[in-house]
Amino acid sequence: MQSFTTLNSKLIKLLVDDIDTDQIIPARFLKTTDKLGLGQHLFSNWRYNEDGSENGDFALNQAAMKGRKVLLSGDNFGCGSSREHAPWALSAWGFRVIISTSFADIFRSNALKNGLLLVEVSKEHHKELTVADSDAEVHIDLSTRTLQLADKEPIEFPIDAFSKRCLADGLDQLGYLQSFQEAIEAYERGQ
């Protein structure tokens, strides 16, 4: 897993509340046995027209947005299905950070397995980011848990110690679980 330290990027704004995982990656693209190739289907129903051509109005299709790594979304991002294809698709497209006022639980857990940093901010700070110039750059520092718009005060965001460790050190969570083998065996004997 790619580790996360700091990042400078301009924002892509997708200011819709309750973006569910069916929008992030529609179910018809889940018929795959690997994790690759999902970036092209990210937000497919919004990103492409009926005839398969790109919808020029959609943020991800605008030339100025290419290469940007931070998505500013509306509230309750990632609700709905448990499909991990959602963070796979977001990461494959190039996103490293999603900013919202809240995230759905399963999406949060899946994002952490894939090195995708979720930055939860207050409504006030969200508003500040929403009205920021579309070419404004943000600086995100995991070690200080801060996000900063140029010329603004840094915004602190919450992240628990374990999630921070996973992202900063690329901690292998399955490896961590396996280190409890003896405890697991003891638990099973006691059942």
């Binding site: 569910d20 889940l30 399963i106 374990f162 969570q173 399955l174 697991i184």
Partner: protein, 475 residues
């Protein structure tokens, strides 16, 4: 950790009984009793095990089924395409290689994962149950702690039978009153979705309590717990009682003989103690509910059948104005108009929410002796092979077919529209499934979520209809 004298909630009891280890500043290592897997969210997990040279730790605690991609046309000939076939073959191969019990097509025990778990008696009170599917909360109807996980976590459970979990908060949903005619479990949960919104329970495990819950059958309790995820909850639970025990007794994987008696004694302890506290409480008086329908593009956008479609002008915040405007535009609906009379192209009765015997009986009670309206297509998809057999033994298949509905083989079908059963762009459906997200039932699909009764009313009238006008009247 609580000592024995501290009052505990149902959730706290099940949680505490499954914590294997807990390091400071780390999530708990939580033991998983039952792992359900299906073809869509497991292949990458098995691939991860293969890369690491790991085995499945407890194949005996893993149960597999094929549901998302299952064709529902009779004779099972039409697997949608090569990629679907590849996923089904991959599951079969992985189960074979790791010694996991799979209930494939034709086994007689196949069906939707959240229907067959309870049906087999694999779902039991007090268990921790996970599946790579967000509707795993269904199993909480039995007093299990059951929740959906991602594919990486499917790999974690396959390899270690454990998960890393932050302890969620608790939310008590107290349901009081007696539902009126035409109002059932689906209306109750859609009522809750409308009341607290689709993010209303994020970070929480719900316990549904109160007289209105105690009165429900297991099929109805499963409908309610199933949609806990639609308010963002991690899980939904109901304390087991005599209704639960009666359902489980004699099921193939339920304890037998002396073990049954002992199990029931243990299960009776699984209730929230007097004096135990929840982080939050929500009340809902079910006697005030009408038959519910969604009008928008998430399950929280629901209204009673006699109400008008909300007007964005009346919304309380600018983000709500935007959300409503966007939803009504997608749905092609006009604000402030009634939903009743809206023409319907397709009716879908099925899904892990509403494909059990009581659901089919409800739908049949309205369709019996009536005909599907001209121009409306009706699919009835039982949740499992066992339900299909039972429904046919009761003659429900004839009621549906005589009315002009399609009686299908079991599977997820049009709820997620991955198997070829899908709406065409722009079509309107009344669906007993759980999600009305944009494109959920096929690209461009427009979904009204409702109960089996309300779905059947739409089937025979070709439009959204208050089912209460059809109950107890001559056909």
């Amino acid at each position: 950790m609580n000592d024995a004298s501290t009052p505990q909630t149902l959730f706290e009891k099940v949680w505490a009984a499954h914590v294997v280890a807990q390091e400071p500043d780390c999530p708990s290592v939580l033991y998983i009793d039952l792992h359900l897997i299906h073809e869509v969210t497991s292949p990458q997990a098995f691939a991860e095990l293969a890369t690491r040279g790991l085995k499945v730790r407890r194949p005996d605690r893993t149960v597999a089924t094929m549901d998302h991609l299952t064709p529902t046309l009779p004779k099972k000939l039409a697997v949608l395409d090569e990629s679907a076939k590849n996923l089904l073959d991959t599951l079969e191969r992985n189960c074979e290689e790791h010694g996991i019990e799979l209930f494939p097509w034709g086994s007689g025990s196949e069906g939707i994962v959240h229907v067959i778990g309870p049906e087999l008696g694999a779902t039991q009170p007090g268990k921790t149950i996970v599946c790579g599917d967000s509707h795993t909360a269904t199993h909480g109807a039995f007093g299990a702690l059951a929740f959906g996980i991602g594919t990486s976590e499917v790999g974690h459970v396959l390899a270690t039978q454990c998960l890393l979990q932050e302890r969620p908060k608790t939310l008590e949903v107290v349901l009081t009153g007696t539902p009126g005619p035409g109002v059932g479990a689906k209306d109750i949960i859609l009522g809750l979705c409308a009341q607290i919104g689709i993010g209303g329970a994020t970070g929480h495990v719900i316990e549904y309590r109160g007289e209105a819950i105690a009165a429900l059958s297991m099929d109805e309790r499963m409908t309610i717990c199933n949609m806990s995820i639609e308010v963002g909850a991690r899980a939904g639970m109901i304390a087991p009682d005599e209704t639960t025990f009666a359902y489980l007794k004699g099921r193939p994987m339920a304890p037998k003989g002396g073990e049954w008696t002992a199990a029931v004694e243990t299960w009776k302890e699984l209730c929230t103690d007097a004096g135990a506290t929840f982080d939050r409480t929500v009340h809902l008086d079910v006697s005030a509910l009408e038959p519910m329908l969604t009008f928008g593009t998430n399950p929280g956008m629901g209204i009673g059948v006699s109400q008008s479609i909300p007007n964005p002008k009346d919304a309380s915040s600018s983000s709500d104005v935007d959300a409503l405007t966007k939803a009504l535009h997608y749905m092609g609906l006009e604000a402030s108009r009634p939903l009743v009379g809206q023409p319907i192209d397709v009716v879908f009765v099925g899904s892990c929410t509403n494909s059990r015997m009581q659901d089919l009986r409800d739908a049949a009670s309205v369709m019996k002796g009536r005909k599907v309206a001209e121009g409306t297509r009706v699919l009835v998809v039982p949740g499992s092979a066992a339900i299909k057999r039972e429904a046919e033994a009761e003659g429900l298949d004839h009621i549906f077919q005589d009315a002009g509905a399609e009686w299908r083989e079991p599977g997820c079908s049009m709820c997620i529209a991955m198997n070829g059963d899908a709406l065409e762009a722009g079509q309107y459906a009344v669906s007993t499934s759980n999600r009305n997200f944009e494109g959920r039932q096929g690209k461009g699909s427009r979904t009204f979520l409702a109960s089996p009764l309300t779905a059947a009313a739409a089937a025979v009238t070709g439009q959204i209809t208050d089912v209460r006008t059809l109950l107890g009247t001559d056909k």
